[in-house]
Symmetry: D3
Subunit: 136 residues, 6 copies
């Protein structure tokens, strides 16, 4: 039977929701306060989920120390205390909504997590708004 | 790949668990303290989940402002600061257990959420007891 | 040096804010939705704080098992799954606002907690609204 | 439509991660601080999930009082304030990782929960590390 | 006896810690990642505390609806979805550390809360870092 | 005006409450399950509070990075993943109740925090039981 393990992490970042193919009016209409040209920000809380069989020798699905380190190297160092629109390659041409941030995180981690293990990502933009890439 | 977005809301309400087809003894036996004829109450915490593809123009599955407003109009105005048994049509003949409240909320929202999007509902009656309509 | 120990508990209850000396209009104006004649309800989360010196023989200010039992006997059994206005002596003639409930709880416990120990009470009516009797 | 109900519980325990088939060096390398021969401990927070149809007579999937009592009898009395390695049969020859503890809890409860109901278990070892047996 | 009432609110904002009287090197040394010239951001969680006697007619210290509205008008509209350094008068020449933000909020609210009531402010910059103006 | 800053940290440890001057019967009577000779354990959540004036050059009471590092060096490295009774000097002859652990942490930090700043410590043994050294 497959079991899932979860590890939480967090990063603080500024962002702005803006579609450069649209007029300023259309952007304000769709994105409201999130379109502020001077940016606003969030404490992003991340939950990474990895599913697979328990290794009988270790009693673990994966080493949580390895997972914590992977998240630190690949996600926290990349996004923590950054302006997502200005400071990162990933969101230079991609609107940094919670949905897109979660998808980008999933893609970055998917490339590092062994293929026989399922991977999912949940990202809290605020305690009241969050998104999930159920993954596979 | 489908992504899920979640929005939290809350309402405070009184309720009583009572089956009018049963004797008082049977009601007390099954529902215990929750059968109090003078009602008791809860802070209900609601999580609404909508799943679908990310719109490439907005980077969103749905506009969370629209979803917050839908929940306010359809759920909070209907149930907040109400006696579920006496003040609402929905629970005049339906026992307002957490399971039934979640199902009713799911049905009300399902009628408003576009059909190509999945809908799920989680409802916390207390921080220790909660229910989920996984939906579709 | 004095140290404080805290114990959490909870009870679920229905209530109505209503001043019988006022007109219905005045009650609605002051208490709004909380004046609903059919009641609404909350999950009340209680924190009891006792301060005093550490007993060198036990390493404790008071036995938390004793405190948990005291709260159960004096507060939970009295208020849990009750309609505060109808089912309790304490709020027959006292408006069950969070402030008054906390004060009543403080008075009930003060009579049981040894006089050389300070007593404080914090009561969450919702996760967003709470009150504190700093006590002494 | 199936609905899920959840009940939370908790127990506090000591444990040590150690594979007796390995050298001390290998154990330290794999389990790190968790290999401390004198044990360390956690507040385990448990969420039990049961899924099935709503009984139209009660409005419930299962009686949460029954479920709370089942968890108390089968899990809390067995593991609370215990050293998992020394005081329990279950982990005498099984490494008490969060994954294995969750699986053991799932197996114990599965034997008691009626077969037509799905059963899942989530176990928090810390607020930042948790595991899930999605079950069936 | 005085009783305290608390109300929670929140706002999301971008900020940068920078002292314009210092060299870039000194700023980086003191403020580290928080000195990022492109800003980063937080979900600020605010707790406002007002202490005073219970009004016997209402059972309240102050009307929490009035307090919630005051916080919305004076704090949320001013700071929510803003860049504190660029979009607000208050932090044009004042470094927007959590300490200074809390003090500014206390000063803004102090001017509106009746003088016979004590006022305190707690501000969470993250769930792990927070500050308190005990006030008076 | 003085402002307080708070920093959270955590450590996981095993412990046993036992007074070696007492009989086994007396120990069981007073400490109950916490007297288990094989130990049990907790996730201790620590909040450190430092109060003082805001430095006008930095906008800070103290550098939270320095405080986080101090807590890591002095508290986490000393107590995390340890058996408090067996692995630490501090509790070889002192019963590791939450009260005593908090007091020991306060004493260790007090020796490192500049004397003109107030110091307080809150320690959660579980989410339901916690203690506070208000300090000075």
């Amino acid at each position: 039977m497959n079991v899932s393990v979860f590890r939480k992490a967090h990063f603080n970042a500024a962002h702005r929701l803006h579609n450069f193919n649209w007029t300023d009016e259309r952007n304000k209409e769709v994105f409201g306060l999130c379109n502020n040209p001077n940016y606003h920000g969030h404490n992003y809380e991340l939950e990474v989920k990895i599913s697979g069989p328990i290794d009988p020798d270790t009693g673990m699905v994966v080493d949580l120390g390895w997972l914590a380190d992977l998240i630190k190297q690949e996600i926290e160092l990349r996004f923590d205390h950054k302006n997502l629109n200005l400071d990162t390659e990933e969101f230079r041409n991609l609107i940094p909504t919670a949905e897109n941030i979660a998808l980008v995180i999933w893609q970055i981690l998917r490339a590092q997590v062994p293929g026989h293990l399922d991977l999912g990502v949940r990202l809290y933009e605020t305690p009241r708004n969050f998104v999930e890439v159920p993954g596979s």
